[in-house]
Symmetry: D4
Subunit: 177 residues, 8 copies
Amino acid sequence: MAKTTKAKKASPSPKVLILMGSDSDLPIMEEVSKVFDGFGIPYEMTVSSAHRTPERTLKIAGGAAERGIKIIIAGAGAAAHLAGFIASQTTLPVIGIPIDATPMRGLDALLATVQMPGGVPVATMAIGKAGAKNAGLFASEILALSDKRLANKLVLDRQAQAAKVEEKAKKLDDARQ
Amino acid sequence: MAKTTKAKKASPSPKVLILMGSDSDLPIMEEVSKVFDGFGIPYEMTVSSAHRTPERTLKIAGGAAERGIKIIIAGAGAAAHLAGFIASQTTLPVIGIPIDATPMRGLDALLATVQMPGGVPVATMAIGKAGAKNAGLFASEILALSDKRLANKLVLDRQAQAAKVEEKAKKLDDARQ
Amino acid sequence: MAKTTKAKKASPSPKVLILMGSDSDLPIMEEVSKVFDGFGIPYEMTVSSAHRTPERTLKIAGGAAERGIKIIIAGAGAAAHLAGFIASQTTLPVIGIPIDATPMRGLDALLATVQMPGGVPVATMAIGKAGAKNAGLFASEILALSDKRLANKLVLDRQAQAAKVEEKAKKLDDARQ
Amino acid sequence: MAKTTKAKKASPSPKVLILMGSDSDLPIMEEVSKVFDGFGIPYEMTVSSAHRTPERTLKIAGGAAERGIKIIIAGAGAAAHLAGFIASQTTLPVIGIPIDATPMRGLDALLATVQMPGGVPVATMAIGKAGAKNAGLFASEILALSDKRLANKLVLDRQAQAAKVEEKAKKLDDARQ
Amino acid sequence: MAKTTKAKKASPSPKVLILMGSDSDLPIMEEVSKVFDGFGIPYEMTVSSAHRTPERTLKIAGGAAERGIKIIIAGAGAAAHLAGFIASQTTLPVIGIPIDATPMRGLDALLATVQMPGGVPVATMAIGKAGAKNAGLFASEILALSDKRLANKLVLDRQAQAAKVEEKAKKLDDARQ
Amino acid sequence: MAKTTKAKKASPSPKVLILMGSDSDLPIMEEVSKVFDGFGIPYEMTVSSAHRTPERTLKIAGGAAERGIKIIIAGAGAAAHLAGFIASQTTLPVIGIPIDATPMRGLDALLATVQMPGGVPVATMAIGKAGAKNAGLFASEILALSDKRLANKLVLDRQAQAAKVEEKAKKLDDARQ
Amino acid sequence: MAKTTKAKKASPSPKVLILMGSDSDLPIMEEVSKVFDGFGIPYEMTVSSAHRTPERTLKIAGGAAERGIKIIIAGAGAAAHLAGFIASQTTLPVIGIPIDATPMRGLDALLATVQMPGGVPVATMAIGKAGAKNAGLFASEILALSDKRLANKLVLDRQAQAAKVEEKAKKLDDARQ
Amino acid sequence: MAKTTKAKKASPSPKVLILMGSDSDLPIMEEVSKVFDGFGIPYEMTVSSAHRTPERTLKIAGGAAERGIKIIIAGAGAAAHLAGFIASQTTLPVIGIPIDATPMRGLDALLATVQMPGGVPVATMAIGKAGAKNAGLFASEILALSDKRLANKLVLDRQAQAAKVEEKAKKLDDARQ
């Protein structure tokens, strides 16, 4: 798997595989990797298309479980088949992020990702950056089921989120007085 | 390819492969085969899912060109990846039929079929029976480019369509006098 | 938690909590429990509304982690807030199922479930029965990360799905000969 | 409630609580406060998220009636649960403003706000600034039911609106002569 | 106003006016009157169209405040102008109910009701019966601001709703044991 | 033009041409002819498809002005090109009726009829029967510009409509007392 | 009617009334007046809102027929009631132009204009400038029914349009050689 | 056909006709010609509108088969009738490209192109540039059925696409190390 990006050299083996259908999706998909960087979760991140490099995608996704990958996250726009394509190749949990890449404003990617037929699940997140961030958090929630330290970090992250909202509320309050 | 349906035994080798994602799509997809039956075009028709039997689909679609197949027609509902999945595996013309199989009334299947990224085309038809009939006609139009008798049949078919409309107009006229 | 349904009395403690916003959602949500019954995964299933019984929902969801629950699955229609409401109360993985319960045909429930803001993820499945079945399978995929027997069952289930498709293909083939 | 913004210090106690899910909603939500500033209606305005600070939101909304608040106005984007979440906690009138904050252009926020199930009403306004202004006016109409001076101001405001339209019509007329 | 329906003869004068654009809307709009019957709130209910009987509508709505009406509720389908038309004639609070009466499934009525321009508010409820019930409840919440007994009834109604959900949860629990 | 339907033999020459794309549209399009029958406006009505009988359509529409036709009304479903096709062939006023004939519920027909590019107008009515009735009324309004008796009939029709609404209001009132 | 704009002083009395809901609609609505200026059709153009100046709108529209107005054209955005409101007050032909003025991109204005209930027709044009231009052309087509010179101008205008397209085709051809 | 653009003078006679409804569509439609330029496929490209130059369009499309044209590609926006109009005139394969040219963001053009009634097929591609590129590729796939060298080029093109994705993956990998 020389072509995939390792989070850190000689780090513990990656637990999550992040795939995007096109390198133009990178500004969205970095929201996923930021979450993992923040929690210290090792991951792989690479570009592979369901339609343009199906074999490469099969190899990366199909061999993921054997490499120790626990969760696969796939982001794609347009007729976004990437997450579903991967889900058909593995029984690892697959998380899909619809990306706004066409005049349909992500509605195409959303429906192509979420409306999977019964039997082959894809856990779908919101369109775009919010969805990418949440994909990272949701994967972390799964990993935290067997990692108490991570579980604690998630609780702290929520508290930090809440504190940030309260701080903004305070700023608004101060500004208006 | 013992598992695929041949149009007629010992007939000339099939020129079109008709795939559907689920056997519940059969009432729609038979509109395709009716067109081929009418024109005497040999075809294969079978069920294979992009998500539930990806390997079987790969085998059927990937080997199609070698078996002498010229065109592949795929119908699917929901997050309809079948046509795009096949298109990623072949440079034969692939025609997609979106099927109304969820509460989204085929909008999901339409967008998941038509919004293919640049590089991997799927020729998309209307949702449902009209689209299935037109998939059969469009494939016939392609085959007619190198088959003058078929080209004539297509012209006659259009004339028959026109005659039918005129007949109905006459009936309406008679009924109202 | 006397008001929740235990899968089997004296069975191992439930690992998944299934919530629905209204008892009219039961025919959909039983697709979830069927999956768990098939795999022998213990679960709780009950009715609780984000809007009509917010406190009850808080109690059931908030205390879930302490009861040993690993995953929460929530199905709701209309302005479907149930999954998001629960996700705001826990860092356990929350899976949402949009239900077609209004003239908007589930588009309202889909957008109200999937478009969660960054920070509070809900893993969203397809609208209706397909989504409910997939919620069960996706939860099983998560649990299988630390349960090899379950992981094997999931692989077998995929193979059974594939066999079923092939069987249907064969039937279609036989019927047409 | 030290964290909420009071319209004016030592002014009569606030009658309306304005909540927004994120401080990025402020440019929209200030259309609400402008209306109250114009009519001299005392109000509180603060940031609190249904998902990121559910407890804070509960505290602010749940205690509103006791603080003398008569009406709660909530604006949120994406899967906009804020208004519905508050409505589930109070029998005060709750007014919701859907905000265009995602590629879905506010359709997600609109459906997540307006499609409330029977039993827990949210009075929904238009997406964005027009809706925010109207939320302020609608709250004023409610308060005017027991405040004749305010009722008169509302009538005058309508007349001023009409005069402004007529003035613009005159300008157009003059410009074209 | 002989043509409007009084809730009960010789009862206290009506506080709410319920209008529907067509008598075919009655099965939806009776959800409003059921709420008022339950709480003992006197009301008028009649049919009047924005487009077919604009003058009648003007007379009924324009004179409402003088008759002691506090709130107007209007339900209409298609290009649902009724609520907005009334709102342009009064500064009483106007509540709109979009009705699913065309192939657009109420999306037309929803957008025509909720997307009011700034300056003339219509408080919009969900499409159909849920919206009609909530219109009744929301009007009651407004009236309860100056009627403690009604305020108590609303709290009890919420508790009854909650109890009903819990009862259904119990039934589900019992049925599954 | 032997194939078109004349309203009445030996009657004054037809003033309106009613076209429908398929005879399955007749139950909708009869709403148009009912209006003309009521007002005594002579018309032709026939079936002709933009796609299946383009030449016939050209002949009927192109020659309409010479036959004394003043207005053309066209109803079609799906990718409804009929009205636009006719409009490109004539400078007579063309009225289009979108028909709900596919899973898209008439949204396809509406957009394909109304979104005409600048230069070639089609006056579009509502989807289905309401639109067909209004097409008849709108054509009558045009003809009434040079026909005072018809203009009077239109005013009387509006009064009759209003009377019908008031009658229904009275019935509702009586039923509830 | 001092407040309305006359096309030219001392010119023949206006035949068309152009109304817009807001002066911000002027850049769109000038497409209508350009058509009339080109054809020498006298018109009035003014601003009047269905919601903000209902009485003014009533006066302008209600008295139009008496002033010799033959056709009324109304453009509005959001919950665009203007055209329907006018149509309810007159049996003159009313043409509606939906304007893209909200995040819904004109879908709200389109549905609020076109989905008129049976009995009160509004002839709806495309969203925005194309629709405005076509409203002008469609009104001209109506007036041309009793004005041969105008009818000729319309035919010439179509020919000029065609010539322009051919010229552009030629330019493209030249540029590519 | 002096007005159409020939790919190269004295080159083999054109095999594909590319039509666009307006010269403003050129930046999109050049994606089609780029594909043919790359593969050395001779083509004609010109502007002709279904609505503004119907006769010119009829002449160009109707005579295409006789000129040796094998495939027609048509791109149009708004109520995009061009492809369907051509398809009604020929039994050559017709490929349609919906163009995003109105506030409806190409949804109007998509539905007006793809939802063709049974009997007259249009092979529809994605909205905009991706669709235009794929129209070129799909036409090439059809031509490759009787042109082995072209078939090989298509296979190489797919390999080049795949190589490009892998290269981008490598760059991403390098950048992150």
